[in-house]
């Protein structure tokens, strides 16, 4: 039966049908749904690991034990997991192991636009790249076969438009797969003597995979009527090319982007007058084509910045642009904002009010950098707030220590903030780290983490106590504050910044979007008392606006967090039914 399926869900379906039994991942847009959807199959053990490195190593352990395993992550997550990946390339696998990495061209929800294909080449690991959901199922199953027959982990590269698009698929049956663990020190203990023997095997494997790439059906030539142009492409770029040119030009559609089929490329180039390479982000295929001594048109025409669309391809291939309608009026932007009742808001307001320099991290709270709060001055990568705070404070000494903080979410802290805190405790700066504990991984859509007390399926699980953890790491000053209480926040920030030793403030309040969070009734403005001072507007709450000079609360949005009532100096904002 045909059905529509999200690309990520299709990967999960492919894992299921391939007999995958173990999944360990860390959430990250646009990869998260692969693991969430796989968790709906009771036959597959699924977990959220604290970070991508741990996830990949756990999946490796399961492969070693004889179970087909998987781990999924976004593009930047693969940087975190690069360490195990580059050596797993040497050990190979026991049962098949598949990795999904999801790139985000256009940066819909990411801090950079890196191209993961470089990792496949550098780690000497094969990479498949599906162009729709049907291929996502097919490639996931194929990846396990490749993994076992070539003794290597296999990467499936997704991108936002394949991961988050639904297209038509048909389901298949689940395969049964059994393998046992066998001790093999020479293969699995990567000390120099053994690794030296494995490296030639890796090189030979890549050569054999390149041979396989020449004959496999996922690297296919689709013929065209007009041979003046031939196009090498893959993934979503293939869809844009076909959308525009249909079967006009011959296309070499690559389903495996590493290693590349050199002979196929040479033959294809010889069959057309002019060769184009259409690929998002870096000129990865193009560089390889050029290394074969072939001329081609690639990045000089098709940008290495941002994602493509059919109109970009059309314009570059010389098609007339579509007629469009346009308004003269400027349309104000609608950037993402912290939600009504977001527990991060009160804390950021406090930091702004105290003119504190804030080094930030990755999560919803990165929106603290947006006006009107504008209370964040650095965001780099997962965990960097804590480590960079230490460096910043060491560099500037007391003048910075009394006025600079790191803010990091609970999940991000477990991911890679802890090691930064270890450095603060060990190499001693009087740094103040604020953990924004909203009891969930928010940005990626509410995943559990080691501090929430629940596992991926929502069942009770081990729970790491943040206060005890920080104390055990050597931080003596650890305090908890409710970010809805502005006075308490203000005191905590002032006192901990003044302290002459490292400190941690845990700003604790569950995400306002969590289903089990009970909200208060909305607050109301008394227009008689409102003096139009706009104090309540300083927190950037989407529930508050000014109409006819007076503050107005949108009752459909307000969850009664009471942060604005604390800001009003005239008692104009109150909650009905409360003194």
């Amino acid at each position: 039966m045909k059905e529509l399926m999200l690309g990520n869900k299709a990967v999960a379906r492919g894992l299921y049908e391939a007999g995958c039994q173990f999944i360990s991942s860390y959430p990250g847009t646009p990869s998260t749904e692969v693991t969430e959807e796989a968790a709906k199959y009771p036959e597959i053990y699924c977990e959220w690991a604290p970070n991508e490195k741990v996830a990949m190593e756990a999946a490796f352990g399961a492969s070693l034990a004889g179970k087909r395993s998987f781990c999924g992550m976004k593009h930047v997550g693969l940087n975190v997991a690069a360490d195990p990946l580059y050596t797993m390339s040497y050990t190979g696998v026991n049962a098949g192991m598949v990795i999904v990495v999801a790139d985000d061209p256009g940066m819909h929800s990411s801090q950079n636009e890196q191209d993961s294909r470089h990792h496949a080449m550098a780690a000497k690991v094969p990479m498949l790249e599906p162009a729709d959901s049907s291929e996502a199922i097919e490639f996931a199953k194929l990846a396990y076969e490749l993994s076992e027959s070539f003794d290597t982990p296999v990467i499936i590269k997704m991108c936002t438009r394949v991961a988050h698009s639904q297209s038509v698929v048909e389901r298949g049956e689940r395969a049964v797969f059994e393998k046992s663990y066998e001790k093999n020190i020479a293969k699995y203990v990567m000390m120099p003597g053994n690794a030296k023997k494995r490296h030639p095997i890796v090189e030979e494997r890549t050569r054999k995979l390149a041979e396989w790439a020449e004959t496999c059906t996922i690297n296919r030539v689709e013929d065209g009527r007009d041979r003046t142009i031939g196009i090498i492409t893959s993934s979503t770029s293939y869809q844009y090319v076909k959308e525009i040119a249909g079967d006009l030009y011959p296309v070499l559609k690559l389903g495996m982007v590493w290693p590349l089929p050199e002979k196929k490329i040479i033959d294809f180039a010889a069959s057309v007058e002019k060769l184009y390479v259409v690929e998002e982000l870096d000129g990865f295929i193009e560089a390889h084509v050029r290394s074969l001594g072939l001329g081609c048109i690639g990045k000089e025409l098709f940008s290495n910045i941002d994602e493509f669309s059919q109109s970009i391809i059309a314009e570059k291939l010389g098609y007339e642009p579509k007629n469009t309608l346009s308004l003269k009026e400027a349309i104000p932007p609608r950037p993402p904002v912290m939600c009504s009742g977001c527990p991060h808001r009160g804390l950021f307001y406090t930091l702004k009010k105290n003119k504190v320099t804030v080094l930030g991290d990755i999560g919803c709270y990165t929106l603290g950098a947006v006006a009107p709060l504008s209370a964040m001055e650095m965001t780099l990568c997962m965990g960097a707030s804590v480590s960079a705070l230490h460096g910043f404070n060491k560099a500037l000494g007391e003048s910075a220590e009394g006025n600079t903080v790191a803010v990091i979410g609970d999940s991000t802290f477990m991911h890679s903030g802890m090691t930064g805190l270890a450095n603060i405790a060990y190499n001693q700066t009087n740094s103040t780290v604020i953990i924004l504990d909203n009891s969930i991984t928010g940005m990626t859509g509410h995943q559990q983490n080691p501090t929430t007390g629940f596992n991926l399926r929502g069942d009770p699980a081990g729970k790491i106590d943040l206060e005890s953890l920080c104390r055990a790491m050597g931080i003596k000053r650890v305090r908890v504050v409710d970010p809805y209480d502005l006075k308490a926040c203000d005191e905590a920030v002032k006192e901990e910044l003044a302290a002459k030793e490292p400190s941690v403030i845990i700003s604790r309040r569950p995400c306002a979007l969590l289903k089990n969070v009970k909200h208060n009734p909305p607050v109301k403005v008394d227009p008689e008392k409102c003096r139009s001072c706009k104090s309540c507007m300083r927190i950037g709450c989407p529930s508050i606006s000014i109409k006819n000079g007076k503050a107005v609360i949108d009752e459909t949005l307000c969850v009664g967090c009471d942060v604005c009532t604390q800001l009003c100096g005239f008692g104009a904002i109150t909650r009905p039914g409360r003194e």
Binding site: E3, S165, Q166, T324, A330, P332, V337, M338
Partner: protein
């Protein structure tokens, strides 16, 4: 059959997911190739969101580009205006007249433009504007705005009403079925 393009636009959290799911089901049940594309993550936090629905004999690209949409279905007035350049010159905008201020308007850095329906019409668009919130409330829940919009959308297609209702039955939880059917009728008939 030429590929048809429908864009569903709105503000993060307004619930456009159900509308696209329903359309996907409908077109698939008619034997079409279908692609539905949406963006998850940060933009969902109250930002401007868009879903692309494309159907036809063979659909390649999952996205809709400027000048390509046959229909734009908008949950919010400003969002209809924001995506207007994506409409075909002979396309139709169906929009809820509800206004939700974006942060730059809330902070006073920008103003919510006046008379957007008229301005879109003046720009050459066929605009079908309706107060979906009231109609949804009449049906029994303000959350049924999406189904009211779909009811309206259904008028522009040569697809039997039973097919639409069958897709509603397939997608909507049984306990909300009657309410959603009413919302669909209100949108279709108003």
């Amino acid at each position: 059959m030429e590929t048809k393009n429908i864009m569903i636009v709105g503000v993060g959290g307004q619930g456009s997911l159900l509308a696209s799911k329903l359309l996907g089901h409908l077109f698939l049940s008619m034997g079409c190739d279908v692609k539905v594309s949406e963006v998850h993550g940060m933009s969902q936090r109250g930002g401007s969101v868009v879903t692309y629905v494309r159907y036809g004999e063979k659909v390649y690209s999952p996205v809709i580009d400027k000048g390509e949409a046959d229909m734009i279905v908008s949950f919010e007035l400003l969002e209809a205006a924001r995506w207007l350049s994506y409409l075909k010159t002979d396309g139709v905008v169906i929009t809820n007249t509800q206004k939700i201020d974006p942060m730059p308007v809330i902070t006073g850095a920008a103003e919510y433009p006046e008379e957007l329906v008229k301005k879109m019409s003046d720009a050459g668009a066929k605009v079908d504007a309706l107060d979906c919130v009231s109609l949804a409330a009449e049906a029994g829940s303000v959350k049924a705005v999406n189904i009211v919009l779909l009811g309206r959308l259904s008028k522009y297609f040569d697809i039997p009403e039973e097919k639409w209702l069958a897709s509603i039955e397939a997608i909507v939880p049984p306990k909300f079925l009657d309410m959603n059917k009413k919302a669909f009728e209100l949108g279709r008939k108003v």
